[in-house]
């Protein structure tokens, strides 16, 4: 399972980051600036993926960036999922005015382009990692809400819910014991998809300098620094871009894999 591999690799890198990284990500070495990666002539094996304009080790910075990316991915996606799922479940289960209200809100939300909304939000909250996470939650809860609402409505039509009513299960039991487990596979794939999105949003906001403090290593920040020296040292941009692509594709693959592993219908 490719997705799981990528995820575990990211998790491992993030956890053992300070031990794994060959250098301090902030350590400057101006004599060794713009060193190329190891396969290019003139590389220093001490700096496997080369160094940036201040002579900081690219590999170490990428490893520390993984930590930020994974943290944002997991925290933001989980919180977004919790908010969206709760609202979606309630709307789908109760219907009526609750549903109308929620659907209206989702429509309005979706009409507003995400990039602009996130910039306004960061402007309001102030730059920083917490702002990135809040922005993701505020923007993307609709993604969960829509799908969960629709799926809950479908599940409510199923015979097993009807029979749960006839044997006298309470609403809460029906919602959490009967319906929730049935939308879980769907939820898991949404969650991993959201992690991929969160990685991208974090990268965007740190690229434009609205995420964590500018000297901290983030993938988006690395890209932005690389963008400045793209003609002298293109690898500065290549590695973080590759990291983002691998992470996003990995999360998507993980979602597909988990979904087919958890879904008893798909498993057959």
């Amino acid at each position: 399972m490719l997705g799981l591999g990528v995820f575990l690799l990211m998790a491992l890198t993030a956890m053992t980051g300070s031990w794994l990284a060959p250098h301090d990500p902030l350590e400057q070495d101006l004599l060794n600036s713009f060193l190329p990666p190891f396969w290019v002539a003139g590389a220093d094996p001490a700096f496997l993926l080369g160094t940036d304009n201040l002579g900081r080790d690219v590999l170490s910075r990428l490893i520390y960036g993984t930590r930020v990316a994974l943290m944002v991915a997991v925290i933001a996606a989980t919180l977004t999922g919790m908010l969206g799922t709760t609202v979606g479940l309630l709307a789908g289960f109760f219907g009526g005015w609750v549903d109308t209200l929620v659907s209206r809100m989702v429509d309005i939300w979706m009409a507003f382009p995400a990039v602009l909304l996130s910039i306004v939000l960061v402007a309001v909250i102030g730059a920083g990692l917490h702002a990135v996470i809040i922005a993701i939650i505020v923007i993307d809860w609709t993604r969960f809400c829509r799908v969960v609402r629709a799926e809950t409505m479908v599940q409510c039509q199923q015979d097993y819910v009807a029979s749960a009513v006839t044997i006298g299960l309470s609403r809460r039991r029906r919602l959490f014991v009967e319906i929730l487990p049935n939308i879980l596979p769907l939820l898991i794939s949404l969650l991993t998809l959201e992690m991929g999105i969160a990685v991208v949003v974090e990268a965007i906001l740190s690229y434009v300098g609205l995420s964590v403090a500018s000297d901290a290593a983030t993938w988006g920040g690395l890209i932005q620094e690389g963008r400045l020296y793209v003609n002298q040292a293109p690898w500065l941009m290549v590695f973080p871009i590759a990291c983002i692509i691998v992470a996003v594709l990995g999360f998507n693959a993980l979602g597909d894999g988990l979904r087919s592993a958890f879904d008893p219908v798909l498993r057959r």
Binding site: G126, Y207, R227, N231, P234, I241
Partner: protein, 335 residues
């Protein structure tokens, strides 16, 4: 769409605009941190701060501030930028054409791409052109949108250094513009050297904006055309003796446009939103680039003005999409 229904549509967008005004106002009033403190140095006295607060109306109640804000908006006054110390409307008017030009070129590229690829895939359905186009759009959609701009920089700026990757035109080029629509103005004046330089600069950012839209739109158009191809009127066209090519292009395609326009319309708003980031990446001096600077500097009046401008752009775009839809679908045209 008749004049009356256009008017109705315009009136309908008034509440939307009002909602944006309220949200815009409220959001930026709950900002923690004092923007005034940011704009003056640490040596300022409390009196200085008080004076500035008065100038910007920050000393009044929220309610009064909103009425003031609304009145100013209606009289076309969006205040003065805190960081640039310039009239916000002036700043926006200076930058808006830049973004509009970029967005228009991007939309033009997407339309050509969507129609070209969608029709090609439908004509050679089940053969290699369709397979190729499917692979292409799957690949484009797999990579996050924002990375395409960066990948283009690496590909066309470094690997095969054939295109400029920063700014709006070569510094060496002499151009004394009357308007901010450099591309259109240089073409209109017949100044081809300038036009070429500006076109080369606009191409990569526009392409980065267009590519994701093309991938989604082409796939959508293709499946809509294929759906139309199964309809009875297509069979009749075949029996009339029309060629496959002509049936796809002149019978199925006009019908397939109707669902495609609705769905890609939403994507177009994303394209407009995407200019913010793409302008930043390519150092393109448009509205979006200014927006990010405004956020970094916490320049409230400027942020408000820009957000409002974008909101108006979205409203206008939506009206245009509705009009196109009504134009394409005769069932909607007469009522």
């Amino acid at each position: 769409m008749t004049a009356a229904s256009l008017l109705r549509r315009l009136l309908l967008s008034v509440p939307t605009l009002f909602g944006v005004l309220i949200i815009n106002f409220v959001l930026l009033r709950v900002v923690p941190g004092d923007p005034i403190a940011m704009m003056i140095g640490p040596g300022a006295t409390p009196e200085d701060i008080q004076n500035l607060r008065q100038i910007y109306g920050l000393d009044k109640s929220i309610y009064q501030q909103f009425l003031l804000y609304l009145g100013d908006f209606l009289s076309g006054d969006l205040g003065t930028s805190i960081s640039m110390r310039q009239d916000v409307v002036e700043l926006i008017v200076g930058r808006l054409p830049v973004t509009l030009e970029l967005a228009l070129v991007a939309i033009a590229i997407s339309l050509v791409g969507i129609v070209g690829l969608g029709i090609t895939a439908s004509i050679w359905k089940g053969r290699w052109p369709e397979v190729l186009i499917d692979v292409f759009s799957g690949f484009v959609q797999a990579v996050p949108d924002f990375l395409w701009a960066l990948l283009f920089i690496l590909i066309f700026g470094v690997l095969w250094a054939s295109m400029p990757i920063f700014g709006r035109m070569d510094l060496a080029v002499e151009f004394d513009p009357l308007t901010q629509f450099y591309l259109f103005e240089s073409l209109f004046r017949g100044d081809l050297v300038v036009f070429r330089s500006i076109l080369m600069h606009i191409l990569l950012p526009a392409l980065s904006l267009a590519l994701p839209l093309i991938a989604i739109g082409a796939r959508l158009l293709k499946s809509s055309i294929n759906e139309s191809m199964a309809q009875d009127y297509v069979q009749l066209a075949r029996v009339k003796g029309f060629s496959h090519f002509r049936i796809v292009v002149s019978q199925a395609f006009p019908n397939a446009l109707i669902p495609t326009v609705t769905l890609t319309g939403v994507q177009m708003t994303f394209l407009i939103g995407g200019t913010v980031l793409v302008e930043r990446i390519f150092g393109y001096p448009g509205l979006g680039n200014m927006a990010i600077d405004a956020v970094i500097n916490r320049d409230l009046p400027l942020i408000q003005g820009i957000v409002l401008t974008f909101a108006v752009m979205f409203i206008v775009l939506n009206i245009l999409i509705d009009m196109t839809y009504a134009f394409l679908n005769p069932r909607l045209r007469h009522d």
